[in-house]
């Protein structure tokens, strides 16, 4: 990989060649139409159907959450609609004991790990049944029982946490891998540098999943390198690029990175090139449509199956939103809980004043 001078500096962004994602060093499994463009012997059709269902569930929840936000019924919410190839594809590439370190944009990963739709909406409403007790704005969730860490807003901090957890697992001789989500702009943050360097020095079993989320636009202000994957070179962390709108490519690349980490070979930096849903190619490359087409071509999906899924998701979400909006807000006194394990005197005074 090379470093090149940008040609559109005056515009502040560079548009990459439309077919750059087709380059050989960008892993791709599905064409835009859902046809296999490379052998996929590791794919089990039942797993792909599960992946599709999980992606559809995440999309439906994200879209409803955005609607609730626009109606002013919940606070600010970003979500990751259109990015299910990376969020859900990576989640299904992990093993049960592996950990996820999300940002506040990926609360849907919990849905792909057994979290309920109702729990998802309780969190968005910040009500008394919210798993984080209404302490963070929508997206700032945590799910310890699912081995999902707590998402926060400072950019990049979770990357060092993932490396630390992976490192701890290795010290304890447990076969556990930690995956961290982040956007491409987090590669400019201090914690990214810290995490990558520690990951390289200590060969920690981690996967750094960078969603290059505005592909093929790349901000001029963020980097001068051709790719984000090559940022791993200086740390001794190999970088791999994949089509971020291709769930099977993400599944393959992350599985490979997990296996590599589990073998004791260290951390992999994955750069997923993700066309946003509202971008010029977004509709054509929608990962959900692409995977549906793949399943249809293989005879594992039908319009009837889609109609049934749509209806059941609609119903599940309607019920969850009704339950979440009807649930009470957390009692005032809970504001003082969990600052410390035991309520200290000064907080007791403030609570009871």
């Amino acid at each position: 990989m090379t470093t090149a001078t940008r040609t559109q500096a005056d515009q502040g962004t560079t548009t990459r060649g439309a077919d750059e994602a087709m380059r050989e060093d960008v892993v791709r499994v599905l064409s835009a139409d859902g046809e296999l463009v490379s052998d996929a012997p590791e794919l089990d059709d039942a797993l792909v159907v599960d992946l599709y269902r999980a992606m559809a569930r995440a999309r439906a929840c994200d879209l409803r959450a955005a609607a609730l936000r626009d109606e002013g019924r919940i606070g600010a919410y970003d979500g990751s609609a259109g990015e299910e190839a990376t969020t859900i594809g990576s989640t299904l590439a992990l093993r049960d004991d592996d950990w996820i370190f999300p940002t506040h944009r990926e609360p849907t990963v919990a849905l792909a790990r057994g979290g309920s739709v109702e729990a998802f909406f309780h969190h968005l409403f910040g009500n008394a049944l919210d798993g984080v007790k209404g302490r963070q704005m929508p997206g700032g969730f945590a799910a310890r029982s699912l081995r999902i860490a707590s998402a926060s807003a400072p950019v990049g901090t979770q990357l060092t946490h993932a490396v630390g957890l992976a490192w701890a697992a290795r010290i304890r001789k447990d076969d556990v891998v930690a995956l961290a989500h982040f956007g491409e702009r987090a590669t400019s943050s201090g914690p990214f540098h810290n995490a990558m360097n520690f990951a390289g020095v200590f060969k920690t079993p981690a996967v750094m999943l960078c969603r290059n989320s505005n592909w093929p636009q790349v901000s001029e202000t963020e980097t001068i390198t051709d790719t984000f994957a090559e940022k791993g070179i200086a740390y001794g962390v190999p970088g791999v690029r994949c089509d971020g709108n291709d769930p099977l490519a993400v599944l393959r690349v992350v599985r490979h990175a997990v296996a590599r980490a589990a073998r004791g070979e260290g951390t992999t930096l994955v750069e997923a090139l993700a066309h946003p849903l509202d971008g010029p190619e977004g509709a054509r490359l929608d990962p959900l449509v692409r995977l549906r087409n793949y399943l249809g071509l293989r005879g594992h999906w039908s319009d009837a199956a889609q109609a049934e899924l749509d209806e059941s998701l609609q119903q599940e979400i309607d019920q969850a939103v009704a339950a979440a909006s009807a649930a009470p807000t957390p009692p005032r006194t809970t504001m003082f809980d969990d600052v410390f394990v035991t309520l200290p005197g000064h907080l007791r005074d403030q609570r009871d004043a």
């Binding site: 919210d130 798993g131 984080v132 007790k133 302490r135 963070q136 700032g140 945590a142 799910a143 310890r144 860490a149 707590s150 926060s152 400072p154 901090t157 990357l159 060092t160 946490h161 993932a162 490396v163 630390g164 957890l165 992976a166 490192w167 701890a168 697992a169 010290i171 304890r172 556990v176 930690a178 201090g190 914690p191 810290n194 995490a195 360097n197 520690f198 020095v201 809980d337 969990d338 600052v339 410390f340 394990v341 200290p344 005197g345 000064h346």
Partner: protein, 324 residues
């Protein structure tokens, strides 16, 4: 009981807890083979190996950030930051992550990390080896803050800190690392976090202090006695949460109070202590509360002994407060 200095007492606590609990790991810059910049971790690398006494890259943010992940996995990391002056690259991790992890996850997770770091001046270290930034951590909800002044307290408080489920900032007054010597119980014991100690009982003036300034306060109290002023000296030991009961009980007895700390005066811990006394014992006060502290300047090199609130600055405050 064996005599130890503070470095030996802290080393003893780390060794004891690492033997007792295999989840405890020490990490930091040169804490392994070298034994740390002040040799506090000397010998631990040979005893426990490089996976539990870890030499890290020179990156405070990386040390503290990875310690968070270790704690989430159930380990008990005890990272060392070489000087508190260098802790600020990790400040975001401490303030935004460690302090808030339990709260923001609804109690699902904790961050039981003890961050050990030397503080304070008087060692010819200049601005970047001498500061006392404890208030900047006290003001952050979710951190316990400890600062021992004796070898016995250093050992007992460190053991209590490592066993605590909450994160603890463990400030070690470097000026008395080797100068403070005393008897330290062998084997396992803890000093409860949140409990101050009345080091010297007296009737006329309450002196509240901690860390290296305890010895300056005791020296001033001895000199005040010659002038007929009987001082009670309290070593806070834990800076947050404060032992309000011990403070208030003493002030209710004496009606007069002087707070002594190295940290800058404005918005320092002394300000909070005086405010608490005003709230809880105002009607018992016989004199205005006084603060003898460092100044609101950066910590100076050549003039460091002018900056520090040494005995000769404390003594007149004690006498004037007693005679007010």
């Amino acid at each position: 009981m064996p005599q130890m200095n503070m470095v030996q007492a802290i080393n003893d606590a780390l060794r004891l807890e690492m033997e007792r609990d295999d989840r405890v790991v020490v990490l930091g810059e040169d804490v392994g083979k070298v034994g740390g910049v002040f040799r506090v971790t000397a010998g631990l690398f040979d005893a426990f190996g490089g996976e539990r006494v870890i030499d890290t890259p020179l990156s405070e943010g990386g040390i503290i950030g990875t310690a968070v992940g270790m704690a989430l996995y159930g380990m008990r990391p005890v990272p060392e930051i070489q000087f508190a002056d260098f802790i600020f690259p990790a400040y975001d991790q401490i303030v935004s992550e460690i302090a808030k992890y339990r709260y923001r996850s609804g109690g699902q997770y904790g961050c039981p990390i003890v961050i050990r770091t030397p503080v304070g001046g008087g060692i010819r270290g200049g601005h970047y080896h001498s500061q006392s930034p404890e208030s900047q951590f006290i003001h952050v909800a979710g951190l316990k803050v400890v600062c021992p002044a004796t070898p016995e307290d250093a050992k007992g408080l460190l053991l209590a800190s490592i066993r605590d489920e909450d994160p603890v900032m463990f400030f070690e007054p470097k000026r008395i690392y080797r100068a403070a010597r005393g008897e330290v119980p062998e084997g396992d014991f803890t000093v409860e976090i949140g409990k101050a100690r009345v080091v010297r009982e007296g009737e006329d003036v309450t002196v509240i202090t901690y860390g290296a300034m305890l010895y300056e306060a005791l020296d001033a109290a001895a000199k005040a006695e010659a002038e007929g002023v009987d001082c009670e000296v309290i070593d806070l030991r834990t800076l947050w949460p404060l032992d309000v009961d011990t403070i208030v009980a003493s002030v209710e007895k004496t009606g007069r109070v002087v707070v002594v700390h190295e940290a800058p005066k404005s918005c320092g811990l002394g300000a909070e202590i005086v405010a608490l006394i005003n709230e809880k014992a105002f009607l018992r006060l016989e004199a205005p509360p006084r603060r003898v502290t460092g100044f609101d300047t950066p910590f100076p090199y050549t003039l460091e002994m002018e900056y520090l609130p040494l005995s000769h600055r404390i003594l007149p405050a004690l006498v004037e407060t007693a005679r007010f």
